[in-house]
Structures are given as C-alpha cells and as structure tokens.
Symmetry: C2
Subunit: 337 residues, 2 copies
Amino acid sequence: MSQTIGTQSIQFDQAPYILGSASIVGTKEGEGPLGELFDLVGEDDKFGEDTWEEAESTLQKEAASMAIGKAGISNEDIRYIFGGDLLGQNIATTFGLMELNIPLFGLYGACSTAGESLALGAMAVAGGYGDQVLAVTSSHFASAEKQFRFPLEYANQRPLSATWTVTGSGAFVLGKKRSKLRITGITPGKVVDYGIKDSMNMGAAMAPAACNTIRQNMIDFNRKPEDYDKIVTGDLGKVGQEILFDLLKQKGFDISKVHMDCGIEIFDSETQNTNAGGSGCGCSAVTLSAYILPKLETGAWKRVLFVPTGALLSTVSFNEGQSVPGIAHGVVIEHAG
Amino acid sequence: MSQTIGTQSIQFDQAPYILGSASIVGTKEGEGPLGELFDLVGEDDKFGEDTWEEAESTLQKEAASMAIGKAGISNEDIRYIFGGDLLGQNIATTFGLMELNIPLFGLYGACSTAGESLALGAMAVAGGYGDQVLAVTSSHFASAEKQFRFPLEYANQRPLSATWTVTGSGAFVLGKKRSKLRITGITPGKVVDYGIKDSMNMGAAMAPAACNTIRQNMIDFNRKPEDYDKIVTGDLGKVGQEILFDLLKQKGFDISKVHMDCGIEIFDSETQNTNAGGSGCGCSAVTLSAYILPKLETGAWKRVLFVPTGALLSTVSFNEGQSVPGIAHGVVIEHAG
C-alpha cells in the first residue's frame, strides 16, 4: 500500500476531503482586497485579550471552533490536531488550543506551517488514523514584530523588501466524509539555503525553497505548470515572486501565467503601506480558506498547488550571523465533482 | 483500514520497525551512570563549533548520520525526517539537518518531541508513506539555559526542583524491514494545564500530562501497568515522579513497580549536582537509544511504554504570567521475536 510517488511526494490512494474551514483576521487584513471574504474580521487586534500573544491564541481558538462548526461536527469528533505558529516554543498554539482537549502534534515550519499541518493532517486521515483531524495555524503582526524584529513601541523604519506579518488564523477540518474539496497529494519540502543573510528580505530567502518544492512536485506527479489552475505560494511578496520565476525558468518551468502569492493578494501595498506584501503562517492559511477553497469548491478552479513558504531563522541564529534558509511544503487540492 | 483504538490511540496494523538508532552526548552525560552506553561522548561540549546553537546542530547531524549508518542505508533511502528541538524557531534542527537534503517536518513538543517524532514517523511508515523515515531530536545545556533561563556567564543559583538540560541528540531510523524492535502503537498527548507557574519546577508542570497519556494508553489498549516491563517518562525528575505516582493512584493505576524516568537515570544527582534530574528533548532520546532499546532488542524487556514529557512555555509566556502546561506523547515499543 505504498502511496509514495517520485522521490519526494505522496499521492493518496484514498484522498481525504476538506470538510470545513475558517478564517479570522485583524483590522488591516479586513481593510485589504480580500476583506469581504474572511469569516470574521476582529474589531480590535487584541481580540479582547491583554497581550498580543493571548490575542493570537484567541484567533486560533476561534478559527478552530468555527471550522469544526462549519464541518458540522463537534470537538470530540476531531481525533488529532496538527497546529503551529511563529512564536518561540509555539505558545500561541499551546494556549490557543488547550481548551479543545484534543491530542496535539505541535509543528514548526515558520510561515510554511499551514502546508505542513495540511500535509500531516491529510497523511493521518488517508492512513486510517482518524475520521477527522484539524489543521490550524496563525500569526499576529504585533507578536511577530516583538518576536523577530522590534516591539511596535520602538517605531523602527521598514525597508521596502520587508513584508508585513498577517494577523490571522486559518483552520481546516480534514476527513473521510465526501465534500467538494480533496487533498490528492503532497510534496513535503526540504530546507534550502542560498546564503541570504537579510532578515528583512524573506522573499529572497524563501524563493529557492519554493522553487525546489514546485519543481519536484511537477517532476514527481509528471505535471506541467498548466496542469494547475493556480500555483499558490505563501508569502514571497513581490521581490520573492520575481526570484521564483527566474529560478524556475532556469529549471525549464514557466509558472508566471498560473502563479499567485497570498502575500501579494492579501494587502494593497499601494494604499496599505505593506511594502513587499503580507507574510506569516496566517497569511497563506486565511487566503486558502477565504479565497482559494471557494474557487475550488465551485469548480471555477479544478486543481491548485498550494505551497506555503517559510523562512527558518530566529533572532539568535540571525544575530549569530547564520543565513536564513527556507522551506516550502506543497499540497495539491482538487475540486471533487 | 482504521487503525485507531480507544479515544486517543493508534494500534498499527503493520507495525513499523526501528532499524537503527544513535545517541551522542556531552561530557557531563558521559560521566553519568549511563556514560558507557552512549555511542559517542563529545570531548568538548562545543563539538568543534563557535556557538552553543551550532554545537547542538552538529549533535543532531552526527546522530542522524550515525543512525542511518547503523541501519545499513544511506541518506537517499530516508524519505522524510521528523525532527525538532527546544530552541525558538527550531534552529538547531534547521541548521543541523539541512545538509542531509531530505524533506523535513519540523516539530515542537518541548521535551516530548522525541515521542512526537517517533509517533509521526511510525504513522508515516505504517501508512505507506515511505520505506524508511528518520526521527531526531536534541537539546544542549548551554543553548537551553540561554534560551529559557540565564546565560551561563550570569552564574545564577538553581533551585533544587530545577532540572539539568541534557546535552545530547538521539536519532532513530524507522522502516518496514524486519528488526528486533517494533513500534506497535502510540498515544498522542493532549495539552494539560494544572496552573503551575514555576518554570524551575518543570516536573510538577509535566506530571499531569504524563498521567493523562499513561492512563489513556492503558484504557485504550486495555492494559494494566504490569503489561509493560517499563513505563518510561522523559524528564519528570524526582519531584515530578512522586506527583505522577500520586495522580495515577487517584485514577486507580499503580505504576511505581514498573516506572522509570530518563531524567533520573541519566545523572547521579548526588555527585553530579543536577538537582531534580536531567531534562530536554535529548534526555529521553539518548536514554531510549542507549539504554532502553538494547534491553528490548535482547528480549530482556518485551514491551515498553515510552512517554517523553514536555513543558510548554517560552520566556514570553512565562514573563506574561501564563502557567506552564505540559504534554506527553506515548509510544509503545516491543521486542519483535
């Protein structure tokens, strides 16, 4: 019952379905181009909590509950959770999901965690390890700035290549029951290091990893870019997108006609002052739930390669002069007729 | 092909085998009671690197390579890696495993990560997602002190309930090929919070999670404590062990005759000044590889419940006044005749 394909991918014999999903975002995301599509836009980015970290936990908890509700099931029907966030020691996830009282696999893949959680969740359902599982990820602008850059109070200037961490959480219930959305395959990513040392230029750090995963996906599944209605990266932003196009062209793949980047879509960089675009685990997760899945559900799109991208650094690794490697996990999602 | 059992566990239809494992530790661990058993004891806790974080990465890289070698295969034969560590954003894992050029699922379960990685690795092999996968975790005393407590140079005093983070990495190749060691089931853990707020008393914070997972394992598999030759927790230490015994007795289970804690075994607290015992992802991982698996391999022990325990906190959550919840993942390992 081997389900592996090519050197790096999995094609599921019994592909799991997406039974429900939810997206909750902050005020700035609500004012962006996708604002109308999200399930819930918070009135206040603290979401009623005392700290930014607790706010992020609340985002996860609410998104998880909403996705479970939309799937028409209750907490006890979820066998396992696959969840993570950007903060050191995954504290947003720990404190956000504790009350659900469901076994938790904590994940860290930087901003690629949405892909990692969907991949592992799909593997679990297709492997017979549960009728329903939950994949959930989040990020919060203020908790991420504090963690990775400067506290907001410091009022530092941001270079044009910098991205803006999305305040948001996306949650997905995967299961065996039929729906119109199916995860048919995955291409888990490798850590790829091009030696980028600028933590304000994450797009450049992540593009080589995205290139690696997208290329391998097409080789493993024997597909061309046109076999996907969209190839969707997480948060490369405008700088990273150009690099990705160049790198893939060198490998013989032109994805420019079908490419979309969640970080570019989620904000209007002209009016919202977000420079290169949005980023964070939440960026790709909420865009998937609010914008991509509905297109697949109606059949407007038939098949999408969803490739969240992560920059693997901490303030310690950065300050010690290490490069910023990237990672990207690919998830093939199809319209189920 | 449901492989679930009870409310929280998995019993594998085709249980994967442990094909090879390796343990590498620092000088203090080498001087402890298990010193003779480890595959490699470093002469210098920096392992030839410039920083503690790079030293920890090197530990992981070497342990991974050694385990792969002992399994009689090469890097290309490993389909996926399941790995993690204690540092913010998993940097020891990222920089340690990058060169292996194998797709990586980054995990965070605090000191329970050894259990999480074995659980997910076993699920992957048993699900048909690869002939061989690698589970690897690490911790390093100096990088962990810097991350969670005080830099070594600060020379702070340590309370008696404090544990000593183990410098070490354990790596495990799981696969389909027969060996004398089999992972027959798992009980993934829930986040359990008893409201402990003392980050210097991790044992008390983690004991309720260990209780929860051990109890559920016995209910799900319909077993008594005596059905295991050993029930092995990760790093509760002496304080946490007593709490665990009390909590499980209240639930009707007396595990005192079969219990062992890796944190208690790895150091001689009388002569090594380690207070409550060892801790860290590496503690349970190296003890499993060096001490527990050989007992199972020879058949001296037939069945072990391995339950690494994690304390879910960061300096941010702690300083914001949050409690320290725990998590514990159970892995059933058996002698295969």
